[in-house]
Symmetry: C2
Subunit: 444 residues, 2 copies
Amino acid sequence: MKHVVIVGGGFAGLNVAKELGNKKDIRVTLIDKNNFQLFQPLLYQVAMAALNAGEIAYPLRIMLSKYKNVTVLKGVVKTVDPRNKTVYTDFGEMQYDSLVLCCGAKHHYFGHNEWEEFAPGLKTIGQASEIRRRVMEAFENAERSQDVAEKRKLLTFVIVGGGPTGVELAGSIGEMSRYYLSKYYRNIDPKLTRIFIVHSAPRILQTFSPELSSKATRALEKLGVQVWTCSLVSRIDADGVQVGNEKIEAGTVLWAAGVRATSIGKTIGFDTDHSGRIIVEDDLTVRGYPDVFTGGDQAHFALPGETSLPGLASVALQQGQAIGRNILLAFQGKPKKPFKYRDKGQMATIGKNAAIAERGNVKLSGLSAWIIWLGVHIYYLSGVKHRLFVILQWAWSYFTFGHAARIVNNEWRFYTNVQEPAEPAEREELMANPACVFAADARQ
Amino acid sequence: MKHVVIVGGGFAGLNVAKELGNKKDIRVTLIDKNNFQLFQPLLYQVAMAALNAGEIAYPLRIMLSKYKNVTVLKGVVKTVDPRNKTVYTDFGEMQYDSLVLCCGAKHHYFGHNEWEEFAPGLKTIGQASEIRRRVMEAFENAERSQDVAEKRKLLTFVIVGGGPTGVELAGSIGEMSRYYLSKYYRNIDPKLTRIFIVHSAPRILQTFSPELSSKATRALEKLGVQVWTCSLVSRIDADGVQVGNEKIEAGTVLWAAGVRATSIGKTIGFDTDHSGRIIVEDDLTVRGYPDVFTGGDQAHFALPGETSLPGLASVALQQGQAIGRNILLAFQGKPKKPFKYRDKGQMATIGKNAAIAERGNVKLSGLSAWIIWLGVHIYYLSGVKHRLFVILQWAWSYFTFGHAARIVNNEWRFYTNVQEPAEPAEREELMANPACVFAADARQ
């Protein structure tokens, strides 16, 4: 009986488990710090109060229940000794015959970790709830404030980073203030609302074609979003954001700029690239360790002369399947196969009826892209029930703009005020290695 | 233009606002610490992962949006000076012509506040999330534990208090372990699960007839719940609960025993009863202050020779309407009318197809009571969308027992690990006066 340990239950890890499910003489242990798979591509909708967290998080055990040889354990992997084939977790150690590390990515503040407090990122349900709390709290405080300057600051939102997540957040805040604020708040002039995307490159969504990128910019501007390109943030604090010589006074700053692989690769001593991603061979094994695999946002996979594959859900999903098949081949004593990526294209949404989608030479924008966006996301969402509920939520919002989930709770102070139970030293270790938040959205 | 200030947006406060909505020459300010109304009767389902929090919380502004003279402000009322008709809040002060205090109730540990850490109560979304986290975490830890004694402790759940909330929690945990644990967890023997209700009185649900109360006991026992009556808890700590000479080693203890009105009545200096409830006249005004009203769990309303009305949603709802009508009469210079309670009966649910309902001499149990329970709760829930979603969630669970919301998130550490942003002194003040959690469930 061979034992496969999978660390991380995102798109990559989950698909490894599925490939190995109910295979003879193999038992699988999947370890994740959460007992659910988070559908990261829709996380921004939880942050924007359009969906409930439970609608995009699906219990791993239910997803894998038909595979009797798969056990899911909730826990944190501290490190791995690849020479002795041992995984060290917060609930003991574990031997493996084959190890899969798919721990995803987390935010990266380019050496400015002090910005995190003022500009939370969007990778976990806790962060989504914190962003929701901040945005809704800004509206609440603006509603009760008597001071126009204060109101103006409270109603100013800066999103750092113009990749898909930044665009989605900015578009949602634009729609919210345009349709929701004006209808339900008595003391807010929606004209006071200002939303900025501050982006370092010459154009937002730079992985798309220039044509689609400028269409997205125009769609954002229609929603009242100001897009600042070639703009570098030099400071973020409680008052707002410093961009070159300009200071944007803002009550809410959100971070959608940089990601970095979880640092477990470094901790173990594997070769990593500048983003902390583990460099893998063409069969997705770690260089020098034929029984250790990695995929998804954790992996740096590049064909000769090319850059690494982007942090997309479809990359993670395909790599997970390939890892599963290669483990089976290896156990049968057969040679592993090199991974071949089938490009499924990319898409981003701006708001109601507005999205962009690109696949090869096909470029779509507006309503058609938006409908494809909806369909693809529903298709990849796990579970019939989740699909039904998300479709209903969207249909409701589409016709009413009345997201009933727009509640804010002071108890939702996950982010800045959570006292971690771990000791400082241990905590640092855990922070360095959160096994595993899956991040399908490292698409900058 | 008369100004009415309502503190608290529960069933009572909300119905005052509705009565005064769009009335000439009246403007209304509703202050609540949350921007939503929480449908407290279904809060235990959020704690038990059967519903999402967003499905039972409805934004006050949307509920009141058709009343142009009503403004909702999110804030905390610190105190009131009834002689100068001034309300002091965390965002400034405010004059009123008429004041309504409906701040509900909170948990009461009978002088043992140190128990709260080990036995959270169920009044807010944060507490519901914390209870969910503890219960699901117990299952997760039991799944990964190798030690039978530890597993047994982790799978032991004690609910202190045998009122409707305690019964609902115990029944849900019973169903969860029977149908869900056995199906999806590989290393848990559901037979190890033990659930206790520890209740001080000779029978649980003592506001119901003895016949229904014993039917509920039998339904609980069918789900594996042990009901200990005439049992007093003398100690709660990390190891479990001490009941007389017996120690129940338990990983999870939940508090459903005592409630107490929020202390704003005492802070202001109004006459209060032993539970902190403000004693009101028959027209729901505070004794000596004809322009201050109170209702719901905050109010002690008793006809001569009778005990105070119970903390039921229907009491709060009717009192809210009566307060609204009396304010209108007072503004017109007419005499206020005494409040008359129309008894709508009471009900409690144990699990699938099992509930009890009583109204006058009509006593129902089992499937019929359960169907009525469903219907009444759907009817009183706010908003077509919430009703639709809750019906769908229930229908899904009914046929599958697969609550897909059964996720646990380490970031959901609202309860014990939340560092409050307020200063200690201020915090105590806030804690003493959380304006306002509405509590429809003080039904012990």
